[in-house]
Symmetry: C2
Subunit: 341 residues, 2 copies
Amino acid sequence: MGPITAISWAPSGAVRIVDQQLLPDAWRERDLEDAAAVVQAIRALQVRGAPLIGIAAAMGLVAGLREQRSAARDAFLTRQTELEALLGAARPTAVNLAWALARMRCVAQATSGDGRALWERLRAEADAILEEDRAMCRRIGAAGLPLIGAGASVLTHCNAGALATGGIGTALAPIYLAHEHGRAVGVYVTETRPVLQGARLAAWELTRAGIPCTVIVDSAAAALLREHRVQLVIVGADRIAANGDFANKIGTYGLALLARHHGVPFYCAAPSSTIDSNLENGADIPIEQRPTEEVTHVAGRRVAPESAQVWNPAFDVTPASLVTGYVTDQGLVRPPFRPTA
Amino acid sequence: MGPITAISWAPSGAVRIVDQQLLPDAWRERDLEDAAAVVQAIRALQVRGAPLIGIAAAMGLVAGLREQRSAARDAFLTRQTELEALLGAARPTAVNLAWALARMRCVAQATSGDGRALWERLRAEADAILEEDRAMCRRIGAAGLPLIGAGASVLTHCNAGALATGGIGTALAPIYLAHEHGRAVGVYVTETRPVLQGARLAAWELTRAGIPCTVIVDSAAAALLREHRVQLVIVGADRIAANGDFANKIGTYGLALLARHHGVPFYCAAPSSTIDSNLENGADIPIEQRPTEEVTHVAGRRVAPESAQVWNPAFDVTPASLVTGYVTDQGLVRPPFRPTA
């Protein structure tokens, strides 16, 4: 069985997603009929992963503009601007969201005609974003494939797989390709508290594809690295600054430091859409603070006393100096990082 | 309100514990009537923490030998040996368990008389172990107090507090004393997956005592340290080898590396009973592998697919080279570590 498909069009023209909050317990698709529903699904982490939320934003814009197909040009563009603002504020850290919406804006401005023509063009552009992401995932996989020799054991964090993209993932793409090539490959995945995307999503999609996967608690990574149980670490990214610093799921920075200390190569895999050339370095990447309940409650049960406070940044920033290489759709890029997008 | 009491004698002579698996939801005391019940409670982590399981083993031996009070000397000692084997196999990593049982054995051998006399002597020795632990906790607190200035912010991992000892804890003892001295002190605690002793126990007992506590997911420690939100890290220990290497809750080793990288002092707090002079270094400390369910299930709900494997070491070993100082009942010991016990 190959990697799963995380996003598609519903027959109604809605955005069809897999509700990732219910995995691995249940596979339930949801049809998001308008932009507000897409924003809600992104905020609730039903759809997550930097590339995927970029795609979801573009598709959500199209779904939300269906009603404007008979509108005049100005009314259509005004509504597009409103929905862009709505969608653009869904989550702050992944730049793919702003990137996809800016691309949709440029396309609309460059297209003549009324609502119908504009909408058709935007729909085609959302399809292009989805298809390009799919293709970029394969190219990322090809770029990273030489890193995954037969018998390799890889550590990853969070989920940067098929469930985070329109295709076969970013960090997991080289692993899927190695598996396709018949190479025995094993993956260790950190469970990735607080939302457990590693245990719930990465372990699920990997084992579903027939790739052996071992889950560890996040804090076991140091012992794992010391025992030389993995030959490399690959993670995804939510935003890469011009100098190669990148934001990714909380814990990535610590993993990078631990990998460096133990002499284990550390790779960041991401498509061009994740690069933010406007930011000189990682210090300027906005870091989302998530609700305290993600930490105080697990599976609906309170695990920390009400009297305790919580600090819950969803991401941290890994400096480029800790990165062995960037696995991108442009190939394997060794530092110093220079954006090509 | 002061720190709570984690262990005591029930009127029946059973070992009375607080069921730590139910905290912070519920405060329920359990009376463990025999050695088998104590073993079960230790294995199920209803009673945990290296000093506390040493105390529980000594007290459980006494509770289990109540029936032998009218036995002849030989029969009594034979039964003691059986119960020692039972209790000694409860968990492998914390040396306090073996230490307490060896001490009880020596005392019995040095005592003349029959079952009644031996039992009375053992009961007094278990009391002494409990009282000495209580006193050692206060001395550890005093030794660490100078580290906790007014306004200090401290990071700790797991629970090395009152719930882990017979007294006010080890790692948390200096914090309790600083609070007693009227110093404003704040604690960041890692939630400590898989069993969440940080979120469930440390945050609970600290805030109950009026000490502000902020819970973070384990993997947020690196970002916390980089932001200089804490001035020092203090953790407990389950076994300290002769060279100062020590085993503690999984994740401690990574924290020590991250603290070193960020120039944050890293302290290990423990009583003499945690030192194992027989082991030259940390490589020889046996590391307990815990059940996979601790990782695959949270609060009774499955979070990792059945198809995934799990690696779940309960402890890791931190080399002495990463330790700024040992906060012990003998004072603050700077490396190189030399056991005084």
